[in-house]
Symmetry: C2
Subunit: 413 residues, 2 copies
Amino acid sequence: MRQSQLFTRSRREAPKDEESRNAQLLIRAGYVHKEMAGVYAYMPLGLRVIEKIKGIVREEMNALGCQEFIMTSLQRKELWEKTDRWDDRNVDVWFKSELKNGGQVGFGWSHEEPITDMMRNYISSYRDLPVYGYQFQTKLRNELRAKSGIMRGREFVMKDLYSYSRTEEEHKAFYDGVIAAYLRVFERVGLGNSTFLTFASGGAFTQFSHEFQTVSDVGEDIIYLDRNKKIAINQEVLTDEVVAQLGVDRGTLEEVKAVEVGNIFSFGGTKCEQLGLFFKDDDGSQKPVILGSYGIGITRLMGIVVEHFSDDKGLVWPEAIAPFKVHLLSLGADEAATKVYETLVAAGIEVLYDDRDARAGEKFADSDLLGLPYRVVIGKRSVESGEAEVKQRTNEENEMVAIADLVKYFVDR
Amino acid sequence: MRQSQLFTRSRREAPKDEESRNAQLLIRAGYVHKEMAGVYAYMPLGLRVIEKIKGIVREEMNALGCQEFIMTSLQRKELWEKTDRWDDRNVDVWFKSELKNGGQVGFGWSHEEPITDMMRNYISSYRDLPVYGYQFQTKLRNELRAKSGIMRGREFVMKDLYSYSRTEEEHKAFYDGVIAAYLRVFERVGLGNSTFLTFASGGAFTQFSHEFQTVSDVGEDIIYLDRNKKIAINQEVLTDEVVAQLGVDRGTLEEVKAVEVGNIFSFGGTKCEQLGLFFKDDDGSQKPVILGSYGIGITRLMGIVVEHFSDDKGLVWPEAIAPFKVHLLSLGADEAATKVYETLVAAGIEVLYDDRDARAGEKFADSDLLGLPYRVVIGKRSVESGEAEVKQRTNEENEMVAIADLVKYFVDR
């Protein structure tokens, strides 16, 4: 798209009350707008990043045979009382309100309860199992503090997946499949090398749950890393017994801060029993369905990517989730640049074209701040030489590429 | 997709407390799940319909040069107080809650205020204008009654577009462009012949606002129709003066019930003045930006399509928004049907394949209930004759088509 048409513009300064680096940069670059503490709106560039992350997650979920649906924000009190999670003493992040026609209503901070309740319409026999369903949902959580930018907000987008299985074996096979799919997601968004499958507390139902933790100085969790085995142990479960069980050497474990970007856990049959989701097995017996729950914080993932890759000049997007692949800058050569723009777009390459009437210095600084993977400069010299200056955002050096070869250059990578 | 994999299934009966025909059918067909009165979750088939409607609207908005973003559900009290729309005496559909760290927060039932406030970051000069931005947002409204199914809910999806213009002329030109784009949207979803541009009350800012009203017995509005001119007048503004002004003949106007599927209105400079959105014009003067607001109820549109086209056998989807184009039924000929399924999918045709182990009568009834545009039956006779039985949902007659020609048959229409 033409940058002159983009309604956002970059800012020198982030709002003074913004403490987090990810939100500071995203606001300065016009990707995000701060509505209030922990509540961010996504501007056109930011929405494109979210949609790309969602696209990757959706592909991986669909490849596992999962089906997408969308639940509601409004929540029934009676339902959450069944699992003892309505009371503020048990769940301290509820937003609640009063219905006009009487009674209380909650706003969804999680969706295990309504989805499991909904499945009672569709699951009654072993023939109906397994079922794997997911949604991208805006979660609302009444957090006391919200200082981590888009990494921990009061309103955020999450992909949550639920598995309903007949047996523990069936559950376990799918659970392992999700672990592999999640690792592919983190690999594809560029965090593969720094994200680790982490053993964490399993709560009442199983020994462990599993987290996906991205190593980061801004992390709120402490994990112990075995880089060779590519696994980690959350501080909360680090005991000699666990270390022995996982076959790692406590002496070589590396203590690091990390951000939880995904988590998966098993409920066994307990949750479905509480909510009345039973199935008739082939021997005629009634059994509770085995439930698994699997989350990825979409906006949090965007935030950690910013924290992880950005530098002192601005954002740096991995190509798979960049809002555009190419940032094309015209430096006083609008006719030639426009031709390049049209050619690249016609070839299916995503281009942000800085066609604004602005100084070269401003365009370069903006380009670094916006952080698209490739910068292509068409200047007055390009018209004579027939060459464009191409630079990767992660690279210091320019490369001269014949304008006639640009499509091939970008299609091939 | 294979119907045996789809987790929803059809039901003979809708919930007893469901009064509206659209929700009854959508629930019975497994498109929608009722969470509570006026609050519906969208199951895989229903979500596909929503995404197709959004896709059509998105195309038309982008063609007008509009940019997509997404605002937040959580709303600041201070902001809405500026326009006097926080108080429950002025706006009676707010959901409100308390923040953990003090103060009240609202849940977005409309977004003019936050979007206009957000634009203060990006608009300060005439050079920044015009700006056209839109979102697909889940709106929350504390309705006292919710008896119209997905047509008027407490939680629903809306496309809302806002235009920020320098002058009244610029505003008017865009406003007229939106009218044309909206008419294209209603045409594309199949409601073109029954949806009319309707002159309605303009409120404080202009003489008229414009609604898009679809003629329907379930409508809550009364409009007066001039079928030749393809315009209508809302009851609320029907006066001799208005009739004369619009050049219609009161004697020939047809009184009908209708459902409002879209509305657009002008705020002049008033709203931006209240919220402090001014721009510096080229003569150095400060002026309030001219605001226009344009809505289409996405889930409501889905509801009226159901009301409009469905028959006593079930849903009937116009092809442009059907979850799948073809419903392929195997009647005891799974091998041949699976081959057809794979061939059609490989050709890019969207197919729901009823591969279930079920009786023919059940499959036919389900197919009518689900309402996909084309039904293709592969039975035992097909294997011998090499022909499939093809029937349009809106047609009584079957047609025999050679299996080898099916791809061509569907690609061509």
